[in-house]
Amino acid sequence: MSPTDARPDAARRADRVARLLSVGVCLVLLVLLARIAQLKGAPGEALDASINSRISRQGLDGARGELLDRRGRVLSTTRFGYRVIVDPEASGDRADEMIVRLSGALGMAPGELGARVMGAIIENDMRRERLEKPGKAAAVSLADSLRRRLGMGDLSRAAGESYGDGADASGAKPLIRYLPVGEELTLEQSERVRGLGLPGVWLERRPVREYAGGDAVAPIVGKVGLADRTLDQTGLLGAELAMNAPLRERDGRAAYMRDAWGRALWIEQGAWEAADAGESVRLSVDLELQRIATQELRRGVEAADAAGGRLIMLDPRTGEVLAMVDALREIEGAVPFPWLEKQVTVDGQRWVATKGELPADPRDRPRYDVGGTDPGRAVHPALGRNRCVEDLYEPGSTFKPFVWSVAMEKGLLGDDEVIDNKANYYVTQCGRSVEDVTHRASLTWDDVLKYSSNVGMAKLSERLSFEQLHEGVVRFGFGARTGLGLPGESAGIVTPEKRWSKYSQTYVAIGHEIGVTPIQMARAFSCFARNDELGGTMPRVALVAGEGDAAKAGVIERVLQPEVALRARFAMVGVAERLDEKIAQLLDDAPPLYSMFGKSGTAQIPCVPGPDQRRPRGSSGYFQNQYNSSFIGGAPLETPRIVVLCVIDDPGPGRIRIRQHYGSYVAGPVVRRVVERSLAYMGVEPDMTDGAGDDAVASRD
């Protein structure tokens, strides 16, 4: 073979080798590609577990909607707080270091934190023993565990030794892996703790409801609690409960791939489901009006030495509740009423006086505690009873305008008629005599309202049939819930038609034998404070601020003809004028700037036993010399913007002694001051000023 023949052979060989090599490389690359595809598309179990362990899944917390006041001020809002959770099992041998570093970050004493964490570790030791040897009797003591933890040698198990106090004798408890420590953290503190990177320490995020509106609006706003077995908030009381559906949030979720340092690498498509915050709800109350009402009510309660007071302010055009205050005051020396309590014995049941005896002579009776117990209020203002919607009272003379209007609408009251009242004494059809506090020898029907004449009202009630009066009372919404939406609302008490008697006819006409809530009264009174075609209609009361043409949306039904409602309104101007005279005479208030109409009322407080209680012998259906004094008014006269009702519960004996416990003395000034300050705040032009308004308001500041 010549060299020329050998070269092509070598070249051919090289060519073949190269071809084989390139085919081989391509095959290897193809195999690699296939492997990559297989690893990506259908990884094996081991790889799948490894990939999944690098996916972080976290819940995205939606925040509950906010409750705002009518001007957008935040009343309650949700933020997120953090709590440190320690897993005693995960801290391993570095528990000491963890305790020292964590206590530094939390600002806790290391001893305090150490006691908690080490206590859990020791408890776990005991539980572990029990779990590992379930059949064996309690065999490891607290002392053993401590000895082991403190490096004092192995256990010396003594038969019959028991667990320490913290241990469960049954021994079946799981290990403690969730140990909350310290107070709730702020965001900054939580970042600090997270930055420590301590093993076995993690942060739990939980929603915290902040009540920025404060205690003044707490009974309206209510409270939230945690939904069953979750960290989600749910309304339990007040507006939080009433508006729970729109306020409720929807939590989201996210899953992302993380790198070796735990940083987010990427979020797969569809792995991020954003949380939805709940809707914010704008309540009808105004924080500033609430402040004014609270301030003036407390002032009035103090001045009257009363046991409490209630105040409601409504916008009569829309029925929106602008302010609602319920104040209780502790009375020194007030004693619990000596109810007879039921005691069940083997011989049967008997009634026992456990709180002393009722003095036979009414003059010897002390001032009884009529406020009732409200332990919830002591815990938090939102937990107390909201007496503006839950508790009843007898309205007394403030009820007269309703009955008066019913008779006026029926055409039973002559315009020129004059009622003779020279004797100031009238025996009603039920045989009881009535008299007037303010005696007038003759009265027109307008005067009957102005001077709150019981005689006039007794005569008026006799002109109405039972059905007419009962139907009139029910028509104003008494005896039925207003539908405000606050939990626990009472429907009030109206004598049923079947049991309506001549007594009912007389007493209801002067506001007795009927139980009403302040919210019912304010709503019914709004029919006198609405203008034009809405005059004589009642609004639907609302706790949520309305939008658009709320005035028309707020109509429930017509209860009076507009001209009758207007006539009653102007008849009540005289009451407000008399109130202003009293205020000018007795108090140091500035002259009023806003015209007003209204009605005062005073009624004894009913003595109603609770469950398993009876009234003692000698007591009547009412507390002697203990009253509910109230005043309800609307202002300004021409175009009323607010209706204000104030009830002062149990004015002190000092006021009764000087006969200044009546509604016009104790509740009237509160209403007048609230009207003056509230309308000024609302920017309503004064209608009783000749330009001196600026100075008058300035003097009030």
Partner: protein, 110 residues
């Protein structure tokens, strides 16, 4: 042949490198996006906390406290402070005086 082989391998290498670089930049972008989302989430939490704090500090009582007794008159009703700060004539005169001094913005017709 050897050159072809080298070229082939280099070609594959370049393609692979390019693809890897693209993948890395995509990963980087995805990472930044994920981080941004989580950061936004954290900021939202912070905003909620601040909102709660602000709400507590601007209630009418707190505002009055801040104003103090001397400045409580600032809380007086609006109608008592409704004074004519400027007369319409003054506004008109000032408007005329100021107009030439204002440079005309392009696209804005006077």
């Amino acid at each position: 042949m050897f050159a072809k082989l080298v070229a082939l391998i280099l070609g594959f290498g370049a393609c692979g490198g390019g693809l890897l670089a693209m993948r890395q930049s995509r990963l980087q972008a995805a990472h930044e996006l994920a981080e941004a989302r989580l950061r936004v989430e954290r900021h939202e939490l912070r905003v909620r906390e601040l909102r709660a704090q602000i709400a507590e500090r601007i209630t009418p009582e707190r505002v009055l406290e801040i104003l103090g007794a001397d400045n409580a008159a600032l809380m007086r009703p609006g109608w008592t402070r409704r004074v004519e700060l400027v007369s319409p004539e003054w506004i008109g005169e000032t408007h005329e005086a100021v107009q030439p001094a204002l440079p005309a913005s392009p696209g804005v017709t006077p």
